[in-house]
């Protein structure tokens, strides 16, 4: 129940955030264009994502626990 409330809360918060969007012109994107603002994981973090996917059964969208590196252990 607690977990469901948390998920619903996060979805509502995300919805509210998306609702309150303002149109930002290209010349106003100096902060958004900062490389730390990229909405992706860092390239150098790919290895951690890989071992976390193996050590935690709740892995993402790769092929799942297969092999290589720490996958076989």
């Amino acid at each position: 129940m607690k977990r469901n409330s948390l998920i619903i809360g996060i979805v509502i918060l995300a919805g509210m955030a998306f609702q309150s969007c303002v149109s930002v012109e290209a010349y106003q994107k100096i902060y958004l264009n900062d490389e730390n603002m990229e909405l992706n994981a860092r390239k150098v973090a790919v290895y951690e994502t890989n071992f976390q996917a193996y050590r935690e059964g709740a892995s993402g969208a790769n092929g799942g626990k297969t092999g290589g590196g720490c996958g076989c252990n």
């Binding site: 995300a14 930002v24 012109e25 150098v44 290895y47 976390q52 297969t66 590196g69 252990n73």
Partner: protein, 417 residues
């Protein structure tokens, strides 16, 4: 005379205008970028799945890789990701040890190397603000081969404040089934099984204001085929206390699995020195695992060229329905595993990274293609990242079961030419 002057003035202005528009339509090709990545990973624990949830999990892994991004023209890119993992594992060394003795056997299974490559061809339509990607990949190791193919589509809004991306990937894998030595049938190592995974991902990215942007993503993952690891042992609750006589089988899991991960990413530019990067992920699958993951990273600009970023990640998950610790499975159970990766755990990852990227790069030199392209190679940036990883088990009737310590050290050197 005055008419002539006017005529020349109009001609010059027209010429200038056409020159300007010609300059505007000419766009210089982006630079080719190469990232040299390297990782060293080490872990230790006492719940090796090869030994039925007991015994060493000591492992080390060395993984260099290369990402090359080549602009073919102003709208087409080719991205290649090539690398290998070379691991040494005390746990898989026990595949050929039916007595599970704690000695270093150095069998053929104690180490292995996986080679992999992924190629992406990307094409942008700047007028329609659409990007299409075609992906293909292959991964090969001693007992496992995986071939993948996929397609991605992304559409940006006119004001470039919103982007919707959809992508699909399919993995076609082949296992060569290596069972623990005492459970090997008459087929020996000649058994092969297939596994397929189909992933569909949709992501909506949105600029919220001048300093805040977010993305929300949902995935659907369907797996079918051999999902259990053939060399994982499982010991049963058969009343036998002598481990050598105890009933043992290889792990057995259902042959389909359905996963739904949902992610939310939120980045906020606090000021010229600090950025806040937040991430939350909810996970559900039909093995009975639900999970929540939180991550926060705070890049701090020490100098215009140097950024350090401490980060913290917390993950908590419930156990799969088929998990039980050593010797607790009933002989009548349909599915069974003692792999603690599928058990009730929480993990913390604490670390930091730094990135040094001077405006004109760390060094400039003539590279192998300089003669052909007329461009110098630039050593653009260097990045180092360290993570300390702790896993704690929360499994009933098994205090301390599932605990594991690990660390990871990674480098990324970026070159352009």
């Amino acid at each position: 005379m005055r008419m002539q002057l006017k005529y020349w003035l109009v001609l010059v202005l027209a010429g200038l205008t056409s020159m300007t528009s010609a300059q505007e339509t000419f766009k210089e090709l982006d630079e080719t970028e190469i990232n040299f990545l390297f990782n060293y990973y080490e872990q230790d624990g006492d719940n090796g799945a090869v030994q039925g949830g007991r015994g060493t999990e000591e492992l080390s892994n060395v993984a260099p890789s290369l990402i090359v991004n080549i602009p073919l023209d102003t709208v087409k890119n080719l991205i290649a990701y090539i690398g290998f993992d070379n691991y040494s594992s005390a746990s898989t060394d026990r595949i050929d040890d039916p007595y599970l003795e704690n000695i270093n056997l150095s069998t053929a299974s104690s180490s292995d190397t996986r080679f992999y490559t992924n190629i992406t061809y990307q094409r942008k339509n700047n007028a329609a603000k659409v990007t299409q990607s075609y992906k293909a990949g292959v991964s090969v190791e001693y007992d496992y081969t995986s071939i993948s193919a996929g397609y991605g589509f992304a559409k940006e809004s006119k004001d470039q404040n919103r982007e919707l991306s959809l992508s699909g990937m399919a993995y076609f894998d082949t296992w060569q089934l290596i069972f623990p030595t005492e459970l090997r049938g008459t087929d020996g190592l000649n058994n092969e099984k297939q596994r397929q995974s189909f992933n569909f991902t949709s992501t909506l990215s949105q600029v919220i204001n001048k300093k805040l942007q977010a993305s929300i993503s949902g995935e659907l993952v369907y797996q079918t085929g051999r999902l259990s690891t053939p060399f994982h042992r499982v010991f049963f609750n058969d009343g036998e206390s002598n481990i050598f006589l105890k009933e043992r089988r290889t792990e057995k899991l259902p042959d389909t699995r359905f996963k739904i991960p949902l992610g939310l990413r939120l980045n906020y530019y606090l000021n010229d020195y600090v950025v806040l990067r937040g991430y939350y992920r909810y996970y559900y699958d039909d093995f009975g695992i639900t999970a929540n993951t939180f991550e926060i990273e705070t890049p701090i600009k020490i100098h215009s060229t140097l950024t350090i970023y401490p980060f913290y990640r917390y993950h908590i998950q419930t156990a799969a329905d088929y998990f039980k610790p050593f010797g607790q499975h009933e002989l009548t159970d349909e599915f069974y595993t003692s792999d603690y990766d599928l058990s009730e755990i929480n993990t913390t990852s604490l670390g930091f990274g730094f990135k040094y990227s001077p405006i004109y790069g760390l060094a400039r030199f003539k590279g192998p293609f300089s003669k052909k392209t007329g461009k110098v190679t630039k050593f653009k940036s260097v990045e180092v990242r360290y993570a300390d990883y702790t896993r704690e088990g929360n499994n009933a009737n098994d205090p301390g079961g599932g605990d594991l310590d690990a660390y990871s050290l990674s480098f990324n050197m970026t070159f352009t030419f």
